[in-house]
């Protein structure tokens, strides 16, 4: 949709240049990556856009003990990465159900974090996979955990003059698996509820570590710490989980909107929690 009050459009070639434009621009300036959130409405308050698609921020690179995903990496690029499919399956799964293919060709993972909507599909996997977000300012590179990045619905800590540069996710050793699940009204809807689960297992095939994050059921994505503790030591047995997953209700505080009532979100959060834990576990044991 046309941005009716937009006066200026910058499309710099380097990160430094981008940061300096952001800092020096006097009016209301916003970053644009894929633009799929930005251009879905007419943002009358915005006077300038800074396009980050030429900064070389679309990369998926192995580093020492972790993977680096550039913030301007598109979902299509993520889906083309075997590295992500093999090691960070929850991210791959979430990328595969975001919007539709034509959107995924241009929409970025960083944009999902920038928009910070509680239903953002790329977000729960970052909690579950223990990601670190790297924010670049003119003077420094800050590292924050997702827990500290999101502050409310459509709110994050990014200030003017800051660019989310990349996402770093540690590789796991041993046997592990992850999964992402989403409930929506149809194939292109935003999530009514979503979840990402990461588990590690020990030699006895018992869960030794778990990270579980739910989306669209609270002002920000939330970790289900009680549930994480409860699954440790289990083999994700269905009957056991049935009872254990009730623990998600302690951490979620869903609202009712056109997509769903709070009550429905409560009910399905448990269902997808169970489903995702079992799938992540199956992947961990190589099933």
């Amino acid at each position: 949709m046309k941005q009716s009050n937009l006066r200026e459009y910058f499309r710099p070639k380097t990160l430094d240049e981008a940061l300096s434009i952001l800092n020096s621009y006097e009016g209301e300036i916003k970053i644009i990556a894929g633009g799929t959130d930005m251009l879905a409405d007419d943002h009358k308050e915005i006077e300038a856009l800074l396009d980050i698609d030429q900064l070389g921020l679309n990369y998926i690179e192995k580093a020492d003990g972790y993977i680096r995903i550039g913030s301007a990496t598109t979902y299509t690029e993520i889906l083309n990465s075997d590295e992500i499919y093999e090691n960070f399956r929850a991210i791959w799964d979430s990328a595969s159900v975001v919007a539709d293919k034509s959107i995924r060709n241009i929409a970025t993972i960083g944009g999902n974090l920038g928009s910070a909507v509680p239903s953002g599909d790329a977000i729960p996997p970052l909690y579950a996979l223990d990601a670190t977000l790297v924010i670049k300012t003119t003077t420094e590179e800050k590292k924050v955990k997702p827990e500290d990045f999101f502050t409310g619905p459509r709110k994050n800590i990014l200030k003017k003059g800051e660019i989310l540069k990349e996402i770093q996710i540690p590789y796991s050793d041993g046997a592990f698996g992850s999964d992402f699940e989403k409930i929506a009204r149809n194939s292109v809807d935003l999530a009514t509820a979503n979840i990402a689960v990461f588990v590690k297992i020990d030699e006895d095939k018992k869960i030794s570590d778990a990270r579980i994050a739910l989306g669209a059921v609270a002002p920000t994505v939330v970790r289900a710490d009680k549930l994480e503790k409860a699954v440790i030591g289990t083999k994700a047995e269905e009957e056991k989980l049935e009872e254990i997953v009730k623990a998600v209700e302690d951490v979620i505080s869903p609202i009712s909107d056109v997509r769903s009532s709070a009550d429905y979100r409560y009910k399905v959060s448990r269902v997808i929690a169970k489903r995702a834990i079992m799938k992540a576990y199956d992947r961990a044991i190589g099933k």
Partner: protein, 164 residues
């Protein structure tokens, strides 16, 4: 008074032709194609990326041109529905859309054809699942998608030289 906003120069190729145009910062690719270049084959059904009627191919990928800033297309290579048929006639996808009546009202047709062309350009032998994925963002209110899916699969076979 409307403040005249600054105009920016963009260069891109559309269907092989090089264009240079001056556009406003907030303009979308869809509107430049339709209004500036008169290429009205690209339709706008929702103007917010939901319906896919405006799908074009940019740098080899299907995108929804109503949510692409025109300035993002600077330097890009763009294909629209007007560039799909060549001097030899209709592209096999178009041919099949016509023959199987995958065209009903025709308003979503250009978008469907561009989304599926992007698929067949990179994957000559798609599964039905891949076809569905490729047009998953294109709403059609008339056909129920059956004929479009059949047309795309049949076109793929044709492109592969399979006799039908």
């Amino acid at each position: 008074m409307i403040l005249m906003s600054q105009k920016y120069k963009v260069n891109f190729t559309v269907n092989g032709d090089q264009y240079e145009r001056y556009v406003e910062a907030g303009e979308t690719l869809a509107s430049v194609l339709r209004v500036e270049l008169g290429l009205t084959g690209t339709k706008v059904g929702c103007d917010r990326g939901d319906c896919g009627a405006c799908t074009v191919i940019m740098n080899g990928k299907a995108v929804k041109s109503c949510i692409i800033p025109a300035l993002k297309a600077d330097g890009a290579e763009i294909q629209t529905i007007e560039g799909v048929a060549d001097e030899n006639g209709l592209h096999p996808i178009q041919q099949e859309f016509v023959e199987l009546a995958a065209v009903q009202c025709g308003y979503c047709t250009p978008g469907l054809i561009m989304a599926s062309k992007a698929l067949l350009d990179e994957n000559k032998n798609p599964t039905e699942e891949e076809v569905r994925e490729a047009i998953g963002g294109n709403i059609c209110r008339c056909t129920g998608y059956e004929k479009p899916v059949q047309a795309i699969l049949k076109a793929a076979k044709k492109l592969n030289g399979e006799c039908l």
